[in-house]
């Protein structure tokens, strides 16, 4: 679960990380009222999860009530425009008004989980304000890293060392160990997968302030912090995630693509493998769908309808390898789903192997369906049928 900037900054505030004075608002009227009562220079920032707000014109400046109202209205008038990773764009439902900082320098500071060392990794670079992947590409030597021993935790020397290794401006030196300490506290306390300050501003009057906040919490740890359940409701699921949830699947279990071969498999690895197989057979897959374990009739029907109603699938390729999932249950599910669904009908290609496969095949045969033997054979058959139906 990714947090919006204002939510991340609330966690920063709790952890003692310096943040600009700010107010979170949901309407242009509120924005105007706030600036009227708090004269000065303010930045008006759209609260969205997508990056690229500045380029999209979703960060503006205000010096009085009228300009605040105009900026807020203009920002909220249109959603964030789509990009490659967010083809649907993102609605803008709220704004953060923030004091305009007299920024002198911008650095980068983050904590993530390093898969190889299995430790939290602290990263600091003097090139703030740009995407860390760009920094990694253009100035790889500039990213100083420290791996934190989980048992010992974070100590200020780590921050001191990083400020030297990253060749930060001396103005950062005094504050950085404390800023990273706060970041580590919240990373640990809330079970975050990523906490990032980009940029970490050094102001002309010598203050070190977190000018932006990016926090990704571990969905699996949300039960430990029930308050975030409420925060989650303001974060929009994308359309695929919403559809997956409605079908009773996990949010990561379904994703649409442009092709005409609908797919369903059990297990993420096999589901990805099924997409790959369709591609290898010269076809194009309509979706990724991991049905999970225990594919009963209701689950299979939901998945079938999900793909039929929301993709351009001309054929449906079901690829099941039974481990926990029992083939006889899936077979019953398929037969029952097709008998009861109100969705459009397309040709089915079924591959069913593994636990209780003989029983599963018999159930399908009784219903007049013949499963194919292998994944490649199924993919080839599905691609052929999709082509014939086109």
């Amino acid at each position: 679960m990714n947090l919006m900037e204002y939510q991340g900054k609330e966690l920063f505030r709790r952890a003692g990380i310096p943040i600009p004075r700010s107010r979170h608002v949901t309407t242009a009227d509120e924005a105007a009222d706030f600036v009227a009562q708090n004269p000065g220079e303010w930045v008006v920032k759209a609260q969205v999860l997508m990056g690229g707000r500045g380029k999209a014109g979703k960060i503006k400046f205000a010096t009085d009530a009228q300009s605040a109202r105009t900026a807020a209205s203009e920002i909220m008038a249109t959603p964030m425009p789509p990009n490659r990773q967010n083809p649907n764009g993102e609605p803008i439902n709220s704004l953060l008004l923030e004091e305009k900082l007299p920024i002198a320098l911008e650095a980068y500071c983050a904590i993530a989980i390093d898969r190889t060392t299995k430790k939290p990794v602290v990263m600091v670079s003097k090139y703030g304000g740009m995407d860390i992947e760009e920094v990694a590409e253009e100035h790889p030597e500039s990213i100083a890293k420290a791996f934190v021993d989980v048992a010992g935790g974070y100590w200020p020397f780590i921050g001191r060392e990083l400020s030297f290794k990253a060749d930060l401006d001396p103005g950062y030196r005094k504050a950085l160990p404390g800023v990273i300490g706060g970041l580590y506290d919240l990373f640990f306390r809330y079970g975050a997968k990523l906490v990032e300050i980009n940029p970490l501003a050094l102001t002309q009057d010598g203050r070190v302030i977190a000018s932006d906040a990016k926090v990704e919490l571990d969905d699996d740890a949300l039960y430990k912090n029930p308050e975030f359940k409420q925060w989650q409701t303001v974060l929009p699921l994308d359309e695929d995630e919403t559809l997956a949830t409605q079908a009773g699947l996990g949010i990561r279990n379904f994703r649409r693509f442009g092709g005409n071969v609908g797919t369903m498999a059990n297990g993420a690895g096999l589901a990805m493998g099924t997409m790959d197989a369709v591609k290898n057979a010269g076809g194009s897959f309509a979706n990724f769908l991991d049905v999970g374990g225990g594919a009963n009739a209701e689950r299979v029907r939901n998945c079938y309808e999900l793909v039929m109603n929301h993709t351009g699938a001309k054929v449906f390729f079901i690829n099941i390898f039974g481990g926990i999932t029992r083939c006889d249950e899936v077979a019953k599910g398929i037969v029952e789903a097709l008998r009861t669904t109100a969705s459009r009908k397309v040709p089915l290609v079924i591959r069913l192997t593994g636990t209780n496969e003989d029983e599963g095949r018999r159930i399908l045969a009784d219903a007049g369906m013949t499963p194919v033997e292998t994944m490649d054979e199924g993919a080839a058959e599905a691609v052929k049928l999709a082509g014939a139906a086109a």
């Binding site: 299995k118 590409e137 021993d149 990561r252 297990g267 990805m272």
Partner: protein, 292 residues
Amino acid sequence: MSIFLDKNTKIIVQGITGSEGSYHTGRMLAYGSNIVGGVTPGKGGRKSEHGLPVFDTVRDAVDATGATHTCIFVPPPFAADALFEAHDAGITFAVCITEGVPVHDVLRVVAATPNMRIIGPNCPGLISPGKSSIGIMPGHVFKEGNVGLISRSGTLTYEVVDLLTRAGFGQSTCVGIGGDPIIGTTFVDCLREFANDRQTEAVVVCGEIGGSDEEDAAAFIKAHMPQMPIVSFIGGRNAPPGKSLGHAGAIISGKFGTPQSKIEAFEAAGVPVADRPSQIPQLLAQRMPARV
């Protein structure tokens, strides 16, 4: 030999009376695994539905049975606790099937249990065909032999094993290491074991997009296992960047975790990368004769 477990390995099941734990204990027993008991707090002194003794604590179970291995089927909030309890009781090998364990819990467990090898979490377990199985793998697709297999996925592993078995390649040990970002045992850990295992004459590495475990494996193979016939496969080659497909660990972010990077690393190590699972037996056969 095989790696990590053989016929005599004594195994307990944490969560043996739960529905998953109970069902898979039955299947493991049917496969021939030497399961000597189980743990469910509050049900100590009873028998499981399979007639196995149930203990209140892992320590009681270890004291009474001499078990060294455990298989954990407990809900995600209790998984780290179960692993720490196993470690504290002297268990040296733990398989955590549970999916959805908080990643910070796993970080703490792996940092603080140096005397225990952990497989998973979020994994199907492991099997030494013909000898023993710990976890949820469907035993009938496996066949005893001399190919070692390591995989991040569950069902894709069964797919690959089925192809190997049909092509006459039996397996020494197959390890499903799990699909989470942080796991107890990596490809490299398994490769190190296979390199020293007399039964294992070839290895199949089934990776997927995300992380750099495959690149690490390739570097290890290049440095330490140049003579061993090894074939690899990368799942999710057609996945888009920025979206994780099912497995939390299977995500391409920026240049990190792309299939290209993994394929290049394996090829640089002299390890052929199969385009599709069905190509794996063929690539193996080019490097070693099949034994039917």
